[in-house]
């Protein structure tokens, strides 16, 4: 409906102005700054064209950071999907203690990650930590989980999986609920009785779009990993846990090389945009069921 344009403007102006000032223009500024050598506090800046991007390409720290981020993303997404889907199927398969299990798996999602990171630091403590104490109890080798360059990234990924599985779980539970009972009944009439058969032939195909969607949700979150890295390893030891946002943070806010950090941010934004587009595509597919 059309109303007085003045009234419409009154409703829309605050939101539009803030979107431009706080979101769209800053991203444009980041893009522009990525072509300069600007350092925070410097009075002048020079256009350097693609120099920052060329430097990124040969920067071993950035390359390491990008590789670590991707590895973290794959491990965490895969782990969360497997645990989330497995738990969702098991929870749904019977009625007992459903609420309790859902709550237990979702608790990490509901808790303040930074506080829990400090708890994890304690759990993974080389001497006093529960994890090593348990390992020693059953006669296994203890490890220095966060200070061993072979292990540190996987330790962070394990914490990431612990935090994200509950989210995957509830998204899968919602997906499972949307599978009509008729289809399962029809399957049973067709002689699909064994639970594994039912999963392979009915549930999994129907859950396909949900799975793609959950993958993108987890991947977007994993790409934004920062908290655990900053609190537990600071990117170390020896850059073994350096990830994209942490590198941006160090370049931009410790070394104040804002131009260079902006170029990294552009790479980060590109990754997020790509995953978001993928997600929208999966959401459109989802509506067909």
């Amino acid at each position: 409906m059309r109303v007085n344009p003045f009234h419409t403007a009154l409703l829309l102006t605050p939101a539009t102005v803030l979107i431009l000032v706080l979101l769209v223009v800053p991203v444009a500024i980041v893009a522009a700054m990525s072509f300069t050598d600007w350092q925070f506090g410097a009075a002048t800046l020079d256009w350097v064209g693609l120099k920052n991007y060329r430097e990124l390409w040969t920067d071993t720290v950035f390359r390491k950071s990008l590789a670590n981020t991707l590895l973290y993303l794959v491990v965490v997404t895969l782990g969360s999907i497997v645990i989330g889907l497995g738990a969702a199927l098991l929870i749904e398969s019977d009625t007992q203690l459903r609420g309790f299990y859902r709550t237990a798996f979702f608790m990490p999602v509901a808790s303040t990650m930074i506080a829990m990171a400090v708890v994890w630091q304690f759990l993974l403590h080389p001497n006093a930590g529960l994890v090593n104490q348990m390992l020693e109890l059953v006669g296994l080798e203890p490890h220095n989980w966060l200070n061993d360059s072979q292990l540190a990234l996987y330790s962070l990924a394990a914490i990431g999986i612990w935090q994200m599985s509950g989210l995957a779980l509830v998204l899968f539970l919602a997906g499972l609920k949307s599978i009509p009972q008729d289809i399962r009944d029809a399957g049973a009439l067709d002689g699909i009785e064994h639970p594994l058969d039912r999963f392979r032939r009915i549930t999994w195909p129907l859950l396909g779009p949900t799975t793609l969607f959950v993958v993108t949700v987890c991947a977007i979150r994993a790409l934004q990993v920062f908290d655990t890295v900053h609190v537990l390893t600071k990117g170390g030891p020896n850059k073994a846990t350096e990830v994209l946002l942490h590198t941006i943070y160090s370049e931009g806010f410790s070394f104040f090389r804002m131009g260079y950090a902006s170029a990294m941010t552009v790479v980060f934004i590109a990754g997020i945009f790509f995953l978001t587009q993928l997600q929208h595509a999966t959401m459109e597919r989802k509506t067909h069921y």
């Binding site: 009154l10 409703l11 605050p14 980041v30 798996f105 930074i114 506080a115 399962r184 920062f226």
Partner: protein, 277 residues
């Protein structure tokens, strides 16, 4: 559907219970450790329960060594201010997109969808510089103002407002209500469930955010709970685990208790991140 066999049901409990124990272990261990004195925490043999209860000293230390209650209060103020601003800004716009026709609507909507994709970390550098120029770094406003707009809030509420019958809007206009009045007195009351879900989404996000407070806040008395936790850890010895765990118990308690009290709502709100990304 056929009832599962007893063997399957026991296996189901075995697997899920093992998973649940692992997932809850950090919480259990955090609470237990917050009750133990230092010598028991560092003793070589593993014991579940404290033999000497150090509840009072650990929690007293956590509350006196750093201004923990101040952090929690800052968190409440920041989250409440962000939420109020987000609602004030987003609801009128959502109404306009849902119920009104105007020139440039398609383009304006594309702008919202574009903004929806932008993660907060992406704008950190220019906004930091902006706040620096305005002399606003290290103030609570620096934690609030950058988040006053939620493109996701506009998106979500617009979807909801579209389901509100047009007749309701017409009737309100016939009663002589202005458009702005209509938003708050007619649309808002119909949107309470959606608004509740959005509020949980927003509060959980900003309560837990660490990246932004880390950038803009340097004074301990302005810290939010996550930043305060790290101040505490760095201040009070990274190894004095009893009081440290007492601190993390107090910091995680508000959201966890809220989650346990209003699970369905909470999950609804948090899973909105699925749509937001």
């Amino acid at each position: 559907m056929k009832r599962p066999s007893n063997l399957f049901r026991s296996l189901r409990h075995l697997v899920l219970m093992a998973g649940a124990v692992i997932f809850l272990m950090p919480f259990i261990w955090m609470v237990l450790t917050s009750l133990k004195p230092a010598d028991e925490i560092f003793s070589r043999e593993l014991s579940l329960l404290p033999t000497r209860l150090a509840l009072v000293e650990n929690y007293t230390l956590a509350l006196t060594k750093v201004p923990l209650l101040r952090y929690l209060w800052n968190g409440v103020v920041v989250c409440a201010a962000i939420l109020v601003l987000q609602i004030l800004v987003a609801l009128p716009a959502a109404y306009a997109f849902a119920k009104l026709e105007f020139r440039g609507k398609t383009w304006a909507w594309r702008l919202v969808l574009l903004a929806l994709m932008i993660p907060h970390q992406a704008t950190a550098i220019p906004i930091y510089v902006m706040l620096h120029r305005l002399g606003m770094l290290n103030t609570l406003s620096a934690l609030i103002v950058p988040f006053s707009i939620s493109a996701f809030g506009i998106f979500l509420m617009r979807q909801f407002f579209r389901t509100v019958p047009d007749d309701l809007v017409h009737a309100a206009r016939l009663d002589g209500m202005s458009e702005l009045e209509l938003v708050w007195r007619v649309m808002l009351p119909t949107a309470i469930p959606a608004l509740f879900a959005f509020s949980i989404f927003s509060v959980v996000w900003h309560w837990n955010d660490y990246f932004w407070p880390l950038l803009v806040i340097s004074s301990p008395e302005l810290a939010t709970p996550p930043l305060g936790t790290i101040f505490f850890r760095n201040e009070e010895a990274g190894t004095n685990f009893g009081p440290l765990m007492a601190g993390t118990v107090l910091i995680t308690a508000p959201l966890v208790l809220f989650f346990i009290a209003a699970q369905k709502r909470f999950i609804e709100g948090v899973t909105l991140t699925g749509v937001k990304g």
